[in-house]
Amino acid sequence: MALTKNEIAKRIAQELVNNTYVNLGIGIPTLVANHVPSDINVEFQSENGILGMGPFPIEGKEDADLINAGKQTITSLPGAVLFDSAVSFSMIRGNHIHLSVLGAMQVAENGDIANWKIPGKMVKGMGGAMDLVTSSNNIIVAMTHTNRQGQSKLLKRCTLPITGVSCVKKIVTDLAVIEVTSKGFKLTEVAPGVSEDEIINSTDADLTIDKNLKTMVL
């Protein structure tokens, strides 16, 4: 059965490496913070100017002066630090952030990502996404495998305006974990109860099936 958003986030949390700095995008990626393994130390950055972001505040403690990049009210953890937007993107462009998790509308088999614009329909802007995707050494995409119209979001080539070139390393969808290799998409894990064929049928690009193909453990 297809994963819930929370389950996608839980699977991505398994990718977290001890003693690293991580930027979580808006949407599913934000949920990753709720599933950090207890033996893993990570610090979450929000690009509007905080490192050491904590959970949402309890009711009555919301502070308009303390938000994340999704404009949600947040808290800070001990050891947190505040900074301006130029310093924030210095951390990002300078490769000090080890992992970025982003949502996407489309990912191409060469690692291109599209997540900022639908011409004529939706033009909200790229925010920090273009900086993030060109900068971190590890870009993981969290998204549903298909869009609301049932169309595959994994493609040979992005049809929407792209956010970055050949940058996505791994995709975790509600159906599968897929690595982006020099030879295109490689299916490495399937969601529990989801068949290979269902994934193949939902993917508008070629897929290499990993010889050690596994079922996700959540």
């Binding site: 505040p57 919301e62 308009a64 938000i67 937007s85 033009v123 920090g128 900086d131 070139v165």
Partner: protein, 232 residues
């Protein structure tokens, strides 16, 4: 001692005129110069070019200037959550230049720092690249971006002193220190205005040299755009 204090918001925005380029600090509705924006929306000026990471919401922040059609062009990184903005943009009434958030921050800093141009990887291979110069450094591709400056920059700080030294609070800092550097005239509104010498010189975020006018704002609504809580 140099004194940058002005009596009120009207004095603070005096000289702002139609066709000018204005910068506004803030991220979403956090850390925006509420008093200046309100006063500008009541002033008979138009054809403004506004540089701001976001464009406010329909009835708050830069949304007030949009509603009155005072803005000719917006330079921003993210403009969602604003119906009037979307309408004006799609109808062609409003010119919009969308640029990556890090590039926006760096371009403002560059403008204030006397750096006319720099290279960044953000936007390479995308629509943002456009006709910008592409250059390879250490096998990676970058595009050249130019500095941004403004006739006026409007920033909001938590505390300030009469010399214009500023301290921000929380994530309300965001673009404010960078735009403060890039304004020909930088106007700072603050929640607390103290005599020079009262702030710890080691804890100031924006040195007063970047600020030409400072005043204590008479109100701060500090609207929260996306109230999220953890259930106890």
């Amino acid at each position: 001692m140099i004194n940058k204090t002005v009596a009120n918001v009207d004095e603070a925005i005096s000289g702002v005129d139609s066709n000018m380029v204005l910068m506004f600090g803030g991220f979403g509705l956090s850390g925006i110069a509420e008093n200046c924006i309100n006063a500008l929306s009541k002033k008979n000026i138009k054809n403004l070019t506004c540089i701001s990471n976001n464009a406010g919401v329909d009835d708050f922040g830069l949304g007030l200037l949009l509603k009155k059609r005072q803005i000719k062009k917006m330079i921003s990184s993210y403009v969602g959550e604003n119906d009037e903005f979307e309408r004006q943009m799609l109808s062609g009434e409003l010119e919009v230049e969308l640029i990556p958030q890090g590039t926006l921050a760096e371009r403002c800093r560059a403008g204030g720092a006397g750096i006319p141009a720099f290279f960044t990887p953000a936007g390479y291979g995308t629509e943002v690249q456009g006709k910008k110069e592409v250059r390879v450094f250490n096998k990676k591709k970058y595009i050249m971006e130019h500095a941004l400056n403004a006739d006026f920059a409007f920033v909001k700080a938590w505390k300030g002193d009469t010399l214009g030294n500023l301290i921000y609070k929380g994530t309300a800092r965001n673009f404010n220190p960078l735009m403060a550097m890039a304004g020909k005239i930088t106007v700072a509104e603050v929640e607390h205005l103290v005599p020079a010498g009262e702030l710890d010189l080691n804890q100031i975020h924006t040195p007063g040299i970047f600020v030409q006018r400072i005043f204590k704002g008479s109100f701060y609504e500090k609207r929260i755009e996306n109230r999220t809580i953890t259930k106890a």
